[in-house]
Subunit: 494 residues, 2 copies
């Protein structure tokens, strides 16, 4: 698109937790923040895909409050684009209908005639050009007050997707779109087979285009309770009645748990837009997608979207194999050796390995549930935790000590902080560290070390142009992350 | 046995590399040094099993020169027993016939009428009492100049073992033993099925009992070249003709590669005692073993010897499973999550994971070959390397640095050493370190650190009664293990 469409907005839904991609996904690193296919993480690919079609300031990320900060840091690598992207924060996750409704009241305030492109943040769409070309079609439908969706022509009797039935797939309707008869939830295998041979059934891609005013009137009609709550939220958010507010989506940042907005939102019914609106609406059109698509609903979805070897295998990372077939082996630095696998999935991360048959890959959710119930950590965090200033990797934790490798980005600094129950030894292994310790500031060069006693205000900073790497040895009776008091922080985490 | 048998010697064959138990086994940590089943490592279980039947100074370990030092350190935990055990070192591995021949010339010198119990170091025999009771029978046979072996009654058509055919299993021969008709190499499945139903076929356990003089005469007859070489080796080893020499098995330590003994031994044909002697001998008796036995020939052998859950699974370590059957999952500290496995083996170690079907578990050797060919390290060393003074674990290795956790046993010390290309930061995380640096000696307490510059003679010592743990951060352009000059070492490694 050469001409940017100023009244078209992209709403990227990014509240999902992605437990089905465990152990690669974690609560603090959901699927949309993973690089599973393609050259970047799914959410960054999604933003790049839509950017150019809509102005960067018309890109909105809807996510839950607890994920928003990490996600903003995650987008930093997009540079100026990341700065324009706006966040709409749900106090808690309540599925897609409330999330889309919340976005709609923002946009409605900005421009009631605006058009919303609603898209998941964690799907794979390799061909951007085809996607944008289909999107153009959908815009025309939306302009004429239709709810427009995208259907994917099925290539197998898939039971993991919802379906869209069109009235007649050979009868091209308004603007080259097909008229939708109904939305259908995930079928059983026999039904899916019938759908496949019928020709009028498409996979529901979860991508929607409509006027903001139109979806709000549909919510008013089909989900009146949600509508009522959205109006109340609107009146609280925009009570000052200043258009300026609209460009301050951080307003919602202040939805702290005890306040009214939190109560209103958390009391909403969790309901999907498909079930709450689409299944009940009549004037729906569908674009028969020309682009390749996968919702990446589980590890086995890689089969649809990643090139395989002659034996039908997908290998990534440090792997050695003898004679496996139709299997997926995902590794990082550690070695994974496989022999004679058939229809298996193996996923290796620094602290956990998953081995499952493909037909039961969905059950990884139960593993995550088990870990949560048992108070484990392998579903929460990776060993490497990305921070706004860089990252740290826990190399080992033992009785009374913890060892981390800390990587600080150029010109970045951690908060001025203090620990009540641990001291820290820092050995610089590359770069030069600028250390502040109780007011005194000094440099620590590669192959030098310094010591931060317990109860001592300190700050670590990388004044250089390259990465700074230090090895941190913590000593204390308690070496958990929550032993931290922040006094000053460039990322507002105090 | 209440009465020790002073002229009976146990020859424990411990030269095997055990590649089939990779990734748990490594070149520097072969199968016999692993705790796979039971409460101790296989070689220590083997020594404890035979100790009490023969005096501790009659226990001989035959292994290759490169394994001997590590193995001696490995036996230290046996205390005074370890001190009595004697080592016979093969310059290189040449299979069981030369190894047994080498042991025989030692024993022949000591006492030509001595009886040798030859046993592998890496088999599982859970019931020591039954084993010793069977062993007693075999001794009687050996005293009457028979070669005696132990046969295991087959319980399935196993194709992984050699077989022994007895003349008639219902016809008890001399001393309750069965007369052997012949030895048979590993059969195909159909043949193994026939053997199973026949009743006169037994699995060859690889345990043998005979007079030293008898096996030497058999070697002279069936393997004359080996016999000739053994006589030459004997003449070199015992040229001083002093009986004292016999109690100095370290003599063979000095078989350095360029010398004559190395040449003689390395030129020997690699041949097993089964193929070289047993298959060609007529006066062989077999004890029908009453003890449970497994040669632990591959991961799947655990099925024979380890208790399974109701679904036929064996789980060890940090595992979570949903609905697997007849599978083996071996983990350590890291989490291994499995779903719906059937007849699979999963083995996890800190730096490598193996996933294989049971029917192809033998092919793990090919994985090891591939790693060797590609110059990898995962077949050589574990991340944790056991040393005579304790152990170290490589936590991370990066560009120009390496991080280790070093554990020093009470009252132990590393060598006085120096590194040409790296400096070392040491942070004590538990215990008190005694550090020697260029002649100066000082203590470093928990939560203190010290620095060893490049090219500086140093020594680390644990003067305390508990473990000393330090984190070592190495910095340098080369951080490999071979950058070490030793000046003084209590373990004679200078």
């Amino acid at each position: 698109m050469t001409q940017l469409l100023n009244d078209i907005h992209a709403i990227i839904l990014a509240g999902g937790s992605g437990t089905r991609f465990w152990p690669l996904s974690r609560e603090t690193c959901p699927k949309q923040m993973l690089q599973i296919v393609g050259e970047d993480t799914l959410i960054r690919q999604t933003i790049k895909r839509i950017h150019g079609f809509v102005p960067s300031e018309n890109i909105w990320i809807v996510t839950t409050e607890d994920k928003a900060q990490d996600m903003r840091f995650h987008l930093q690598s997009l540079g100026s684009l990341a700065k324009s992207v706006q966040f709409i924060k749900e106090p808690v996750g309540r599925n897609t209908a409330p999330a889309i409704g919340l976005a709609a009241i923002y946009l409605n305030r900005l421009s009631p005639e605006s058009i919303m492109i609603v898209m998941p943040s964690d799907h794979a769409i390799p061909d951007t050009q085809k996607f944008l070309s289909d999107l153009k079609l959908s815009i025309e439908g939306a302009k004429e007050d239709y709810l427009v969706t995208f259907g994917i022509k099925p290539c197998r009797p898939e039971t993991g997707y919802g379906y869209i039935k069109v009235v007649n797939s050979s009868e091209i309707g308004p603007n080259g779109l097909l008229k939708v008869e109904r939305f259908i939830e995930k079928p059983n295998f026999q039904t899916a087979e019938a759908y496949l041979s019928d020709g009028n059934y498409f996979w529901n891609s979860g991508i929607f285009v409509w006027k903001t005013s139109k979806i709000l009137s549909k919510i008013e009609k089909h989900l009146p309770e949600l509508y009522q709550t959205l109006k109340e939220i609107e009146s609280i958010l925009f009570q000052l009645d200043k258009p300026k507010e609209l460009n301050e989506p951080n307003k919602l940042n202040k939805l702290n748990k005890p306040n009214k907005l939190y109560k209103l939102y958390s009391n909403l019914e969790s309901i999907s837009i498909d079930y709450g609106i689409m299944e009940r609406s009549s004037n729906v059109l569908m674009v028969p997608a020309t682009f390749q698509w996968s919702d990446l609903g589980s590890w086995t979805a890689l089969d649809e979207i990643v090139d395989k070897d002659e034996q039908g295998n997908i290998f990534k990372g440090n792997t050695v194999d003898i004679g496996s077939k139709n299997s997926i082996v995902f590794s990082g630095q550690r070695l994974v050796a496989t022999i004679g696998l058939k229809d298996m999935v193996v996923v290796d991360t620094p602290d956990a390995t998953l081995v499952t048959t493909k037909d039961r890959a969905q059950e990884v959710r139960k593993i995550v549930d088990t870990l949560r119930q048992n108070g484990r950590e392998e579903h929460l965090l990776h060993k490497t935790v990305v921070k706004p200033w860089g990252s740290y990797t826990v190399l080992e934790k033992g009785e009374g000590y913890k060892i981390k490798r800390v990587v600080i980005n150029p010109k970045s600094k951690l908060s001025l902080q203090l620990h009540r129950r641990r001291s820290e030894h820092w050995v610089v292994v590359s770069g030069i560290a600028k250390v502040t310790k109780e007011g005194e500031t000094y440099l620590v060069h590669t192959n030098e070390s310094t010591y931060i006693p317990i109860n001592t205000k300190h700050r670590l900073e990388n004044p250089g142009e390259g990465l700074l790497q230090i090895i941190e040895v913590q000593n204390g009776d308690y070496v958990e992350e929550d032993d931290i008091e922040r006094f000053d922080d460039v990322y507002d985490r105090t």
